[in-house]
Every structure is written in C-alpha cells, then in structure tokens.
Amino acid sequence: MLPLHGLSTNDLEKMADEEFWNYARVYADTVPRISSQERNYQDQHLECELSYGNCLIPLKAIVEVLPSPRQYTRLPLAPTWMRGLITWRSEAIPLIDLDMYLCGVSSSRLNGMLLIANYSDIIVGLLVPGIGLTTTVQFEQVRPSTGPTVSYTPIRAGVIRGVYAEEPVLDISALLPDVVQQIGMAAHYG
C-alpha cells in the first residue's frame, strides 16, 4: 500500500471509488492513533523520589533533566525551601528543594537530580533526591486527595492534583505559581 500522506492528487484521481474510500477509511483510522499518542504523552508522569515516598510530576512540564548543580547562589530573604539561584540557559532561575517544599524536610545534599520545570513562562529548577520511571497516569483512576500524606504537608495540599497508585500527582499549574508567590512574598515578610 502506498503511504497515505505520500499520495499525490494525480494518484487520488486515478483511484477507483472503492479504492479511494478504502484509502480514506484507513487514513481516517490513523487520526485517533495519533491523538492517542498525544494523549499518552499528556498523561505521562515522571516518578520522583522524595524522602517519605514518591510523587508524580507531569512530563510535559519538565523541560530538561540534569544532574543536580554543584553550586548555587543563595538569595537573601528566600523561603527555606529555595536553595538559591542557578544558571539555566544563561538565565538565573530559582532552585527549589522539592522535598523541603512538599514535606518540610530536606535531603540536605546536592546529589539528586535537577528537573527544569516550566509552566506559563515560569521556569524553576526542582531539586529531587532521585527520579524513577515514567508512568502513564489513568486520570479516571486518580482519586482526590483526601488529606495530607507523608509525601506532603497540609499547607501544600493545593498543589496536589490527586493520588494515583498511592502516589500524589503534582499539579504544576498550581505549584509553580505558588512557588513564585511565596518567593515574592518572602522578600517583604521574610
């Protein structure tokens, strides 16, 4: 069979009606398959190890995964969970200790992994003790978070989208703006 997208107008004109509609049907069948792949990517999450359990971060929000930085620059009047500033693509971005931010404990070492997360042009570096595999989250199976677990403190409940396979799924669209707001507020209130 000819590749569907490789057919010229001339090829299509030469086709018999039946042949044409067969091609059309086959071509139409491929569309849901692409959407499925797309949806699959949308649902893919990266498992991140925290001190008291794992959490899932949507893969689409992660721009890059890097080894943890050797050095960072401390910023005055920053929240305890903001380690400092690092350079990423010639820009200074905040380095967030995700363990500290979510659980209130710090792995207190710089030997984990650095996830560069982006949401709505907010770019931050998320420092995690380790990363695991990617998982496709079945959102129909995500149950609402009924309360804080060992993985996060009550104050961070707003950045948890729900729980999937006993692991909290982070809502990056809530987490990153919260990080920005907290860092900004810390400048005024310490």
Binding site: Y72, I86, A92
Partner: protein
C-alpha cells in the same frame, strides 16, 4: 456673559474658554437645577459660595471626556478657519498662523492632560510644522498641505474618541506617513528646536521620549547614534574578518596535531623493536643467534627469531657463512672501505633519535600553532568586547542633550521673575547611555528647578548679593566605563532634591557625594556607570558566596590584614586611621542574611568597602575583595528581586553572581526597620483618642488648590466653597509657592503633574521650610501606584487621594486633617 471667570483668569481664558466653562457649570449644576452662578463674593475673587447641595460632585471621567471633546471640537473648528485664513493671506505673518499656533498648543496640552496621546501628538506636529514654516525649513505650500492633513487627522481622531470612547491611532499613523511623503521629519524638526518653548509643557520623561524616539509604541525603528553605529559596523566587520585567520590557525593546529600523532606512532612502532633488542641483549643473544644461525643485524632474522620464541620452534635454515665482525678496536684502527658499519642497535638508535626529533618538532609546531590560535582568540575576544561596548554606546547621547533642557528650564523660571541665573557647562560632549540619561533627566530637572525656586522665593539676599546672580555649573567627564558629573551651586541645595537625585543615582549603581567649599559653593559629584547593562564592579566574597559591588559606589577599600594587591603594613595602618571616622559598619554577610551579626566589640575588621554615601562613615565589612571585573548585568525576575538586589551577572563558570546595590540595601534595611518601629508606635497610639482641635470644618479654613487642570480647579473650588472653605488656586508649582507666601492657606490640595515645579517639588520645598510646618497637604493626583504614595509620604504629605476622588471622601479627609475626630476614613499616607 458674566465676569466670573474672566476675573479669575484674565490672562488665560479666552472667549472659547469661557464657553467651555459655561458648559462645565451647566453640567455641574444640572442635577440640582441650579443656574450658572452670576455673582461672586465681592473682594475675594477666588472665593465662591454656592447653595448647591452635596450632589454637586466631581465630574466623572465621561463628563470630563465630553467636556474635552466639546472644547477640542471648537478648537479644531477654529484651527480650520485659521488655516483657511492663512491660505487666503498667503503669507507667514497672517493672523491665521498665530491663531492656529495658539489653538494647537491648547489642544496639545489639554489632550495630553486627559490622556489622549494621539491628539496631543498631532497637535504638537502642527506646532512643529508651523515652526518649520516660520524657520523657512518648509515651503509655504507644503506646510499648508501638511496642516490640512493634520487637521483631518485631528478630526478623525476626535471622531473615533467620541464614537468609541477611545482614540484610534490610525489617523496619526497615516498622517506620519503623509509627512514622510511630503519629506517632513517632524521628529528631526523637534530636535532642532530649542527646548525653551517646551520646557514647561511636558514632563521630562515625555520630552526625553519625544527627543529620542523611545517608548513610542507606534515606532518600529530605533534611533541610534550615527557615529557609534559606523564604529560598530567597522568593529563588527573587523570581528568577522578575524574568521579567516581563525580558520587558518585552527587548520595549523590540526596539521600540527596530525604531525605529532604521526611522530608518536612512529615512536610507538619502534618501542617493541627496542624492547626485543634489550631482551635479546640481556638473554645472551649470541647463543640464540648463533644457534639459529641468523645474522644478528638482519631484521628478517629478528622477526624469525621472535616467531621462534613465540612458537618454541627453531626453523632449520641453512647456515650461511658470514664475515666475522671486526673487533671494535680493530674497526677503529682500520677501515678498508672507509664506510660506516651499522649494527641493528645503531639503526634502531638512529631511528629512535629521528622519531624523537620528529615528536619534538611536531610538538614545537603544535605549540606554535596553539600560540597563534590563542592570539587570534585573544584578538576575537578584544574585538567582541569592542563590539559589545559599541553596542551599548550605540544609544548614547552627549551630555549636552540633557543640559539644554536644564538650561531652558532655569531660564524659563528665572526669566519669569526677572532674575538671571548664571549657567556654565563643560564636558557637554561626554557621551552617556540614553537609558542612564533618561533616568537622570527628571531628578536633575527637579534639582535645578528647586534650587532656582529656593533662590527666587526663599533666599534673602542682600543688595550686594542681588548684584551677583546665582550660579549653576555642570561638568561631565568619563573615565573608562564610569561617568562623573559635577554640579556646582553658588548657594545651598534643597536636601529633598538631593535625596531624590541620590535615590535615582543609587538605582543606577552610582553614587552621589556632596562637597561644601569655604566660599559657600556646593558641589554634587555623581559617579555612574556609563551603561545600565554593563557593570564594572568589585568581585567580593561573603562567606562562600561571591557577589559584585559597583566600583562607582565604593569610595575606597580598607584592608587590615589580607587584601587585594599586597597592601603594605604602612598602607594598611594609614587606612586604619581613615576608618576611625567610620561610624556605621555593616557586615555584608548580615546584609545578605548569611550569618548572624557578631558583636561589634568582638569583631576584628579585616577588609571593608567604604561607601560613597552622604554619610561618609559607612563601611561594609567583607570577607575578601577578590578582583575587579566587568560583566554584563541581567535583570532578575520581579519575584526574585530583593532589597538592593535586582540584577545578576554570570561568571565564566556559569555561577550566578548577585549584583549588590549596597546603598539601596542599607537604605531599605533602615527604612523597613523604621516602618516596623513606626508601626508599633502607631498601634500604641491608636488606643488613645485624638483631641478635637476645632469645632467644625467651617472655621474659615483657607484651602489652596494647586492643579494645572482648569476643570479640576473649578470643580474643587465649587465643592469646597459650598462647604464654607475659603478657596484660592494656582495653575502650577511656582504659582502655588507664590500663593503660599502671600495667602498663608491652612491646607493645600496638591496635584503631582504640573508645569514648572511638580507636586513633589512643591511638597519638598514646603516641608523644608519651618514657616509652613502647620500647613496640611493632601496630594490629589491620578497617580495611584504605591511608589507615588510612598514618595509623597517620605516628603511629608498628610494624605494621598487619587483622582477621580468621590466628593465625600475628599471632604472627610479635609475635615479629618482639620481635627474633626469623627472623620478618619480617608486614605492616610502610610
């Protein structure tokens, strides 16, 4: 027609103005079915009593817009007639031209005041075209065409405003295209005009934008300094030309590396032969050789021998007779054929020597090639740096650009009061980045305006002094990436203006120092980086972190034990003596929140940066001054900014370096501490009742309204008069000061944006004079941002209200300030 307004503003109100006012009054009183007041209080032309009830409130935005539209429509009609008359008269001294000029000026001003930027711009273009026609830079006929086009654009814009409630920018854009077609450059024309006529019409920022073409959202082009642009082009070409030598140098390095690799491989090939030779020599080679029957110098034999060793098999080769080698001493004594005889060792040694020579030669070639490449890279770095600097200088302007504006402002104010102020300038050709110049424009203008106002209104000069006119001098010079501007005054300088200037200069990573000379002359010295993007700074260590401090903010470095450049003990001792004067010592670590502050008595000061502040004794203790650097600054995202930290730089290792604005850090730290302290005091005081000072608002309080908008003045006038206050008004800052000294009002309603001295200037001047200490001041402005409120608070305003302000809120605020204890709901300045 009554003479109400004509008496108030005989110099500024035309027949048209009065018509507008009449419309205003009709609108204002329409809700109460009251009529336009035909009588005024005898003997007090500024005082208005009215029976209108409290529903006579402020005009809404829509009302204001309607009024403006009515007025603008009439002005445009008048302008049309004027252009027609001009066309009929066919000469420049036509009355029509004068009328047109007056109307255009008025529309430009009122449109700008109400926020109609396009209409204001078109009207200003009309003014420019008139000036071009008068200066014969534009032919009469072309000018007429341009004026007709301008009128059409003005009408179309007004039409869009009335129809849609907002201005369409299209007429202006089309008009500017038409100007281009007619070969009229209104911007260039504006640049060539003296700034005198514009000195009091627009704010310095607006003026700056107009002059430089910056901030014009319609503009897709950028104005750059042509000389620097040419230099940049040249440098960029030189930079590109370095590509060829760079490629050549890279090829040389590659060739040298190949040669070296080849020589090394040759050396490697010799290695097993040498090893086997050494082995054979150590393992009684004669036996082996003799047993095998090979000639010892034969490489073939050697190969066979090695193979036999590996396979433990000695091939049986027929033994051939060979000459016995000569004993060495015999060979030395006699050589029949006089030829060299080479043993295998000789050959190998020779080959080894050759291979080593080859390696040495290739190494030398590689070193040379690398040195050449390094020099090309260095040239590229220098050239890149040149290009970068020239890019920053691209948008530079001569200092004179700003001084023209300052001179015009001084002459305008002084001339209005028949005074003369001597103005000198040197270093006017020193080029400063436009961004820097723009930031400096407002505070410098305010400084000179306040200085002139101080001289004119508040300095009591003897007759002898009167003969000597006050003197202001500007001097600019550049050293490397730093600009120094010296401003000298023959008399004392208002501290508020200096503070304002200082704030701005600190934001630019610069410093201001004040020098007072015996003659009473005051000199302000401003040290600034030439560009806002580059920082020439000191790389300073605080704990394990390195930060950057602008060189322009550091007066000197104090070294006690270890420091930069190997200071001698003598140097350090002499600097220790200098540090005795230091009464404020901050630890950089503490400012950065890195560690807890040590007790002052416990610490041994090692290295300190002595800052260039108004307080000469401010030192910042640091752990180490590493070196001087020049880096490109990058602004931090807003949420990452901290007091005194708004920029970063990135070093060669990719580390983020915080660029510290130490004076700002100290100022804000002190301010926050003060605010925290004041907050506590206010909390305590709020428990006590305020004593009632007066029985009511109608106790003949006199209120001065300072606002350049006639609508606002009239509206406030009526409202306050109705409440029983005595009202006087002023159209600008200077007139407000004049009224203050003559009328001694109890309260001042002060607008911010006014011609001649703005509201902040007036506020600063008032608060620096004891005689006005009891004057209550309410800022009434359209500026609603926190920074404006903070500025007003810092300068001593009692309250801050934003336009449009509900009538009851205004009255509550006034009553509260006059001591009515029930009224505390106004927006008090924090």
């Amino acid at each position: 027609m009554d003479d109400f307004d004509a008496q108030d503003h005989p110099e500024e109100l035309s027949k048209d103005d009065l018509e507008v006012l009449r419309a205003f009054h009709n609108l204002e009183f329409s809700t109460t079915n009251d009529s336009f007041p035909h009588e005024t209080t005898p003997g007090a032309s500024h005082v208005h009593q009215s029976d209108t009830d409290q529903s006579a409130a402020f005009l809404s935005e829509d009302d204001m817009l309607a009024l403006f539209a009515t007025e603008a429509d009439e002005e445009i009609a008048a302008m049309r007639l004027a252009v027609k008359q001009l066309e009929q008269d066919n000469r420049l001294d036509s009355r029509g031209l004068k009328a047109l000029k007056r109307c255009a000026h008025k529309v430009a001003g009122t449109a700008a005041a109400i926020g109609c930027a396009s209409m204001s711009t078109i009207a200003r273009h009309i003014e420019t075209i008139i000036k071009l026609m008068e200066g014969e830079s534009l032919t009469f006929q072309t000018g007429l065409i341009a004026l007709y086009n301008s009128m059409q654009a003005l009408e179309a814009t007004l039409h869009s405003l009335v129809s849609n409630g907002f201005e369409s920018k299209n007429p202006l854009l089309q008009l500017e295209e038409e100007y281009k077609r007619l070969n009229i450059d209104v911007h260039v024309a504006k640049n060539s005009q003296t700034a005198l006529s514009e000195a009091t019409d627009v704010t310095t920022s607006e003026w700056f934008s107009q002059q430089t073409g910056m901030r014009d959202p319609n503009s897709t082009s950028l104005r750059v300094n042509a000389r620097h642009f040419n230099k940049l082009l040249e440098s960029a070409e030189n930079f590109i030309e370095l590509d060829i030598p760079m490629e050549h140098a890279q090829k040389q390095v590659e060739t040298a590396i190949n040669d070296l690799q080849f020589a090394q491989s040759r050396l490697h090939r010799l290695e097993p032969l040498l090893s086997s030779l050494t082995l054979s020599m150590n393992a009684t080679p004669d036996t082996l050789v003799e047993d095998a029957g090979y000639p010892p110098s034969s490489l073939v034999a050697r190969i066979l021998q090695e193979a036999s060793i590996r396979t433990s098999h000695v091939p049986q080769i027929k033994k051939v007779a060979r000459p016995q080698p000569l004993l060495s001493y015999e060979a030395a004594l006699w050589d029949e054929m006089e030829i060299d005889r080479f043993s295998e060792t000789n050959v190998l040694t020779h080959s080894l020597a050759e291979a080593i020579t080859d390696v040495a030669l290739a190494t030398t070639h590689l070193q040379q090639a690398l040195a050449h490449l390094k020099s090309i890279v260095a040239q590229q770095v220098i050239q890149a740096s040149t290009v970068r600097n020239e890019v920053f200088l691209l948008r530079s302007l001569p200092f004179n650009f700003l001084v023209t504006r300052l001179r015009a402002a001084i002459e305008m104010i002084a001339g209005a009061h028949s005074e003369r102020i001597q103005f000198d300038i040197s270093g006017e050709s020193v080029e400063i980045n436009q961004d820097v110049l723009e930031k400096l424009a407002d505070p410098l203008l305010e400084l000179v305006q306040m200085q002139v106002a101080e001289v004119l209104f508040f300095t009591h000069r003897s007759e002898q002094d009167t003969d000597r006119s006050p003197h202001i001098a500007f001097n600019a010079h550049a050293t490397g990436n730093e600009i120094t501007i010296e401003i000298s005054f023959s008399q004392s300088v208002p501290s508020a203006a200096v503070a304002l200037l200082q704030d701005t200069v600190h934001q630019l990573y610069g410093s201001v120092s004040l020098q007072k000379k015996g003659t009473g002359k005051i000199t302000l010295q401003l040290r600034l980086p030439r560009s806002r993007r580059m920082i020439q700074g000191l790389l300073v260590r605080a704990g394990s972190q390195q930060v950057i401090v602008s060189v322009s903010q550091v007066k000197r470095i104090h070294f006690n034990k270890l420091g930069m450049n190997g200071q001698t003990v003598q140097d350090r001792n002499s600097q220790d003596t200098l540090l005795i004067d230091t009464d404020e010592i901050y630890e950089l670590n503490t400012l950065l929140g890195i560690q807890a502050q040590k007790h002052v008595a416990e610490k041994a000061l090692q290295t300190a940066l002595i800052l260039e502040l108004d307080n000469p004794g401010t030192a910042i203790e640091v752990d180490e001054v590493v070196k001087e650097v020049e880096l490109v600054m990058k602004p931090l995202s807003e949420y990452l900014c901290r007091p005194g930290i708004t920029n970063t730089a990135i070093d060669a290792n990719g580390n983020v370096l915080l660029v510290l604005n130490l004076p700002e850090m100290i100022r804000l730290k002190e301010m926050y501490q003060q605010v925290a302290k004041t907050g506590m005091e206010v909390d305590t005081e709020s428990d006590h009742e305020q004593p009632m000072l007066q029985s009511g608002p109608q106790a003949c309080h006199k209120i001065l309204i300072a606002d350049d908008s006639i609508y606002i003045r009239q509206s406030l006038n009526m409202t306050l008069s109705h409440e029983g206050y005595v009202v006087i008004d002023a159209v600008d800052g200077l007139q407000a000061l004049d009224q203050l000294s003559k009328e001694s009002p109890d309260l001042l309603l002060l607008d911010v944006e006014m011609p001649n001295l703005n509201g902040y200037d007036v506020l600063s001047i008032i608060r620096s004079h004891q005689e006005f200490s009891t004057l209550k001041i309410i800022m009434l402005t359209s500026r609603s941002s926190e920074k404006h409120k903070r500025r007003a608070s810092e300068l001593g305003a009692n309250a801050y209200l934003t336009k449009p302000c509900p009538q009851d809120e205004l009255l509550k605020t006034i009553k509260s300030l006059f001591g009515d204890k029930d009224e505390h709901t106004y927006e008090q300045v924090e």
